[in-house]
């Protein structure tokens, strides 16, 4: 059970506990919607059969990345309360790597914020996955992490609101 809204864990993700956390600590009746996103390990990537993924993070900076993203969310959608938890270590197919939960008075901003957060996590959070597939393994390398890159931020916002 996470105790903070933004966290990294070695343990299996419990989505319900993250949703409870995002709802907690606010006056009853403030929220009308919670949207959530669960990222799970797919069994196929680039035509290869995936066996497992191994995630690692630079944890103190990953938490700061989540804080930056959270502040961006507050700028776009001031009523949102957000929780993000990313798992690290070895994950098997079907296991959850990330959960995002966004609570708000109305559904539209909760859906948008949730999408924005996963796009931004993929752009800037110092987290890496190594894919173990049938016949080999390889680091997956996506985006060059730069939280000040306005074009990346705008692309994430465009996807969230598209």
């Amino acid at each position: 059970m996470p105790t903070t809204l933004l966290s990294i864990t070695d343990d299996p993700i419990d989505m319900a506990s993250v949703v409870r956390l995002v709802e907690a600590g606010e006056p009853a009746g403030r929220f009308g919607a919670v949207t959530s996103f669960l990222g799970i390990v797919r069994g196929e990537n680039l035509g290869r059969r995936v066996v497992e993924l191994e995630y690692e993070a630079y944890e103190p900076l990953a938490i700061k990345a989540f804080e930056i993203i959270s502040a961006e969310v507050a700028g776009h959608w001031p009523t949102i309360r957000l929780a993000v938890q990313h798992r690290i270590g070895r994950l098997l197919i079907g296991e959850a790597s990330i959960v995002i939960a966004a609570a708000s008075p109305h559904r539209a901003e909760a859906f948008q914020a949730c999408r924005y957060v996963i796009e931004r996590v993929k752009q800037i959070a110092p987290i890496w996955k190594r894919e173990v597939f049938e016949g080999g393994e390889a680091w997956v390398e996506g985006a060059t992490a730069d939280p000040t890159d306005a074009a990346a931020r705008e692309a994430a916002y465009g996807r969230a609101c598209g």
Partner: protein, 81 residues
Amino acid sequence: MRITILVFARLRDLAGSPRLVRAVPEGATVDTVWQALAAEFPAVAPYRGSVSAAVNADYARFTTPVADGNEVAFLPPVSGG
């Protein structure tokens, strides 16, 4: 002055260790630290265009100055989520 260098993912594999302590001259920047790393482990050099950096667990630029005892992290392209 002494700098702790943290490398992750494929950069760690190439450097053979997640954490190195190296001496750099006074007035050094993140780029100076990177050059030292790339000189010691030439296989990391091609990452210069795609790597990001952090100093003491805050995002930094290659022009950011470093001080004795700082922790400088080099981040290959990220793939979380």
